[in-house]
Symmetry: C2
Subunit: 358 residues, 2 copies
């Protein structure tokens, strides 16, 4: 655990973002306008993204500071969102640590030698902060562009949570049923916990490096946690996600925790130490607020598929979500999952205007 | 609606299956042994299935009575399960009605001309019972082999529910995000309801043909319903699934209703008219029983991925599930989703023995 708690590592001069609606809502206040950003706002839905990515592999893009900076800023310029999110990928810290992993277009992450037992876990390389120096440099470039004071835009750092990283490592790539992952989890709990502790340390190191470089909040994505029952989540995952979020506590920055299909897990994911809990579209925000308990904010809830249904539908749903979000201790407007690649960017721009007007 | 309620169509002489544990549990009793069957028990996990399917396309197999009979019986012979389930595919009634759809290996159903608007819906062909005569013939062959009296094994008929069929028709194949489906649902509710009413009639016709041919229970699979919020499910789906199940009420046969990731929908899916509600592994059966309400049985709950974790894990989980199932009005042991193709069939056989011994 010592790696998770190097005191002082998180201290760095921060921009003054007093009054930024995103930070206020994430801390449980109700700012004058509901803040809005979109998961995957920096990505394939934007033609300017597709243009700058052309000819550059995903992994190379993630380690090229100027490109990360440009892509991170694109949706801020275009949509006027209330937060930027670092352009990165969930396997970036694994790649940086030296794990053989690549992003294959049309497939997703592919791991050269999947983790199948205790020896594989023991052989996993640790992440040294220096290995993510290009990401830290990207963060410094972004922040210089995002301004400070009134009108300054916060930057959200992010990382994948231990369970989701474990699934990629064990399955060797994206998996629909996570059968190898669950088999290891159930059959070899000691190996499992060693793996998740390693990944928690990796994730904490990565997020602390982002904090040290100047991000204003962090989001821990547990994309696949919804594949687990609450019982299994609490036994096999919660301690490790808790360790990651605890390692960021001293930063004082808002910590967002998100997964998809996690209606049954919202309470547990809040207990992990989240200041903001992400909610997909299956559970309305007022009900989510009950499950999450008092003193935490909610984020999300608009079905990304609804963005294909025309402006009237989008407006009706956005109004309902803003109204239901009032039941929570803070509401950050977002989608219930990432922007789908075919989304019309103009729909997103108009949605930001609408949410700001409500 | 007249198509859903031709009186007398369901009357046919039935086998005497008094005392069959599956039928008793499905009707809310607690038979001496907990009945067990597995979704997708007839399929790729069995080498004898792969042998007989070799060289025959999925759709051709589904319309070849002798082959359907053989494949349906294989898991009964091998595992000693308490029910057979008709070997078929969710798009069979669409294909039989004349919709251009095929099953492409490695992809799933592919629809030649996806449904994108009101004119496409109006042009959809109705299903005539004669078009599924080969399936009715297969059912008669299966039943002759399943015996009657003590030791006779019930046969479960099945069909895909209107929402899941609609998603295949609209997306043109399997879809992760169902964005076109939801866009049509939200943006053109009249077209949507016309489509789902058409598909409810198709499904009812298909299931009534199965009942007339002699199945002893039916399962309505709404594979993708878990992609919806409860609010949307109730508005856009529930009336149509209710119409299907109502069309089978006069048969007096148990009606099972199942979907994946439907923790939020269990109450609504019960209200649709299910005698048995299928539950995946995310919600324990005692909690599911509360959501479903009294007077209905539950089915399912073992994570298919747990079958890869060794016999001790399987036994521990099976014992827990049988114990939690006692909270419900009847419990049919099953997986929380279909058997995964890589599953070791011996694990299933031993699981049947174990559940019977508890």
């Amino acid at each position: 655990m010592s790696k998770l708690a190097e005191p002082g590592a998180l201290r760095s001069p921060r921009r003054d973002l007093t009054g930024a609606p995103f930070l206020a809502a994430a801390r449980g206040a109700r700012p004058a306008r509901t803040p809005v950003w979109f998961m995957r706002q920096a990505g394939r839905s934007l033609p300017e993204y597709r243009a700058v990515r052309q000819g550059t592999s995903m992994m190379r893009a993630c380690f090229t500071p100027e490109l990360v900076c440009e892509v991170t800023l694109q949706p801020v310029r275009r949509h006027g969102v209330d937060a930027a999110i670092l352009f990165s990928d969930i396997v970036v810290p694994l790649y940086a640590a030296g794990v053989g992993v690549d992003i294959v277009a049309g497939t997703g992450p592919v791991v050269a030698s999947p983790v199948r037992g205790a020896a594989d876990v023991a052989a996993l390389p640790a992440l040294e902060p220096d290995a993510v120096a290009p990401i830290a440099e990207a963060i410094r470039l972004v922040i210089a562009e995002l301004g400070s004071g009134p009108g300054g835009i916060p930057l959200i750092g992010f990382a994948g949570a231990p369970f989701t990283l474990a699934s990629y490592l064990i399955e060797g790539g994206p998996s629909r049923n996570h059968e190898r992952t669950k088999a290891l989890m159930y059959a070899e709990p000691d190996t499992w916990h060693a793996l998740l502790a390693h990944l928690a340390a990796t994730t904490a190191t990565f997020l602390r490096a982002q904090v040290a470089a100047g991000v204003d909040a962090v989001q821990l994505f547990d994309s696949w946690a919804g594949a687990l029952s609450e019982r299994d989540y609490r036994e096999f995952v919660l301690p490790h996600s808790t360790a990651v979020l605890a390692a960021l506590a001293e930063s004082g920055l808002p910590r967002i925790h998100f997964g998809v299909g996690t209606g049954e897990l919202l309470g547990a994911m809040a207990e992990a130490g989240a200041d903001v809990v992400g909610v997909d579209w299956r559970v309305p925000l007022d009900e989510a607020a009950l499950r999450i308990g008092p003193g935490r904010a909610v984020q999300g809830n608009l079905d990304p598929a609804a963005l294909f249904a025309g402006s009237e539908v989008v407006a009706t749903q956005a109004r309902r979500i803003v109204a239901q979000g009032r039941a929570a201790g803070g509401h950050v407007f977002n989608l219930g999952h990432g922007v789908l690649p075919e989304t019309d960017p103009d729909v997103l721009t108009r949605l930001v205007e609408l949410v700001h007007s409500l």
